[in-house]
Amino acid sequence: MIFTIDQWAWSNGLRDASPRRKGLAALFGLILSLSFPLPAVSATVIILAALLLTVKARLPLQTFLKLMTVPAAFLLTGTVTIAFSLSPVDAVWQTSIYSYMIGISAQGLHEATTLLLRSLGATASLYFFVLTTPMVDAIELFNDLRTPRILTDLMLLTYRFTFVLMETTQAMITAQEARLGYTTTANSFRSFGILAANLFIRSLLRSRDLYTALAARGYEDELRVLPRKRG
């Protein structure tokens, strides 16, 4: 999922739009859906995000819907419980279990839908930002907003080396599999232990090498880079 988002961030139609404006739009959607407990408002925000993403950013609607299902599944399990109540007054549907009446009240249903839509509206707003803005642009935006350099420098390195770590892990797992590392449960446990320990050591060595390489290009205290050229 991370990779899907990252790929679209680098290849969508709004990639080179100003990160500030995209950030503002996302913030606006977020505030709207969080501060107005009206299903209509949240639904509008979701539809707007979907429209912007599919029409302007040229993201397939299917991809957006797929991405939305992940948080939606989470939210659904959380909100379903709100809809149910004991001996509901204005029951839409109810059933008896022994001597208890359990059902869905009209009010509960309304509350659950409102909450679900509000959360989905907020999620869609954030999706709009992360799906249209490459991470390096987001970091640039945080820099413009005066985030402490140490944090944004860490973000920059974390982002870049997440991929290096993933590749290294994948390569090591493939190599272990090639020597039957995961054929039995016992083997799997042992291989996984070795993998974890080695990844840790490699990461340490790599961070040292990284420092050497940065110093070779004059690194002193902060990672000074130009904003990405857009357009």
Binding site: D209, R217, G218, R228
Partner: protein, 289 residues
């Protein structure tokens, strides 16, 4: 050691009896001396573990020799913060593993890092980035994230990142390793262009065919020592040395020896080390002009 007097005059970068041992006790360099001349194309060769990378890390001041001295333009290296900043803006080092060097996910941001550290204005840095992208032939990668690039492309981004700093000396640690033949050719052509513009180019490599036709000077390292300094022609004339250091003979030279053995070429002539030399020798014998 060809023409010591001359090499002293043009000497740009010099190591004198430098010694270095790693904390775990491994000897890195053992009283190593060598001279790099201005504007040359220098190949540093030797088996794995012979000290090539260790030497390179000394030349840009990352490692400091325990004994001995390194001189750049006749002056001993200054290891102060300011001295290192100046040194590293004049001597660029391209690391072997691109994933070590590339820290930003954006190609242009990574390239802009060095120029900005040199104190250039954003406008100047931008110009340098554009030029580096152009020269290394990767302008089309501008908007691609680094993690989506191929190994060869990453390698070129690394070179662009150093090129953008316009150093007088560019040192490359095995720039051809893992590249396909076309990729290697591109890098060599690029290095030739940099050299033609006046940059001194130093690189380590293992392909002796390339050493034979590309390098003007060769430095051979063995167990942390310099065992040869001179031109490729005189290096490849020393069979025992090559053998001792685990180096191969370039194929045109082997071919020449075979042809001599078969009686097709007369023995005793100056042995050619590259393809052109071999063809010339054959021409002289068989196509009387």
């Amino acid at each position: 050691m060809i023409n010591t007097v001359n090499s002293k005059i043009n000497s740009l970068l010099e190591a004198e009896h430098i010694e270095f041992a790693y904390p775990d006790g491994t000897t890195g360099l053992n009283r190593l001396s060598m001279t790099i001349r201005q504007g040359r194309k220098v190949a540093v060769v030797g088996a794995n573990g012979s000290g090539k990378s260790t030497l390179f890390l000394h030349l840009n001041g990352t490692l400091k020799p325990h004994r001995g001295a390194i001189r750049f333009q006749g002056k001993e290296l200054d290891y102060s913060r300011k001295g290192l900043r100046e040194l590293r803006s004049r001597i660029g080092l391209v690391f072997q593993d691109p994933d070590v060097q590339l820290f930003s996910a954006s190609v242009e941001q990574d390239i802009s890092f060095g120029p900005l550290n040199m104190g250039l204005s954003p406008a100047e840095a931008r110009q340098r980035v554009d030029e580096a992208l152009e020269v290394t032939g990767i302008s089309d990668l501008r908007h691609r994230p680094v993690h989506g690039l191929s190994y060869g492309q990453k390698k070129r981004v690394c070179i662009a990142g150093i090129y953008a700093m316009k150093p007088e000396v560019i040192i490359l640690d095995e720039p051809l390793a893992w590249l396909d033949p076309v990729g290697a050719k591109h890098i060599l052509a690029l290095l030739d262009r940099l050299n033609a513009a006046g940059t001194t180019v130093i690189m380590s490599l293992h392909q002796m065919d390339i050493v034979a036709h590309w390098a003007q000077d060769v430095i051979v390292l063995n167990k942390g020592e310099t065992v040869f300094e001179g031109n490729p022609l005189s290096l490849f004339a020393q069979d025992d040395l090559l053998h001792r250091c685990g180096l191969e003979t370039p194929w045109p030279l082997e071919m020449y020896h075979d042809l001599v053995r078969m009686g097709l070429l007369p023995p005793g002539e100056a042995a050619p080390v590259d393809k052109r030399g071999l063809l010339d020798t054959i021409n002289r014998k068989w196509c009387k002009r």
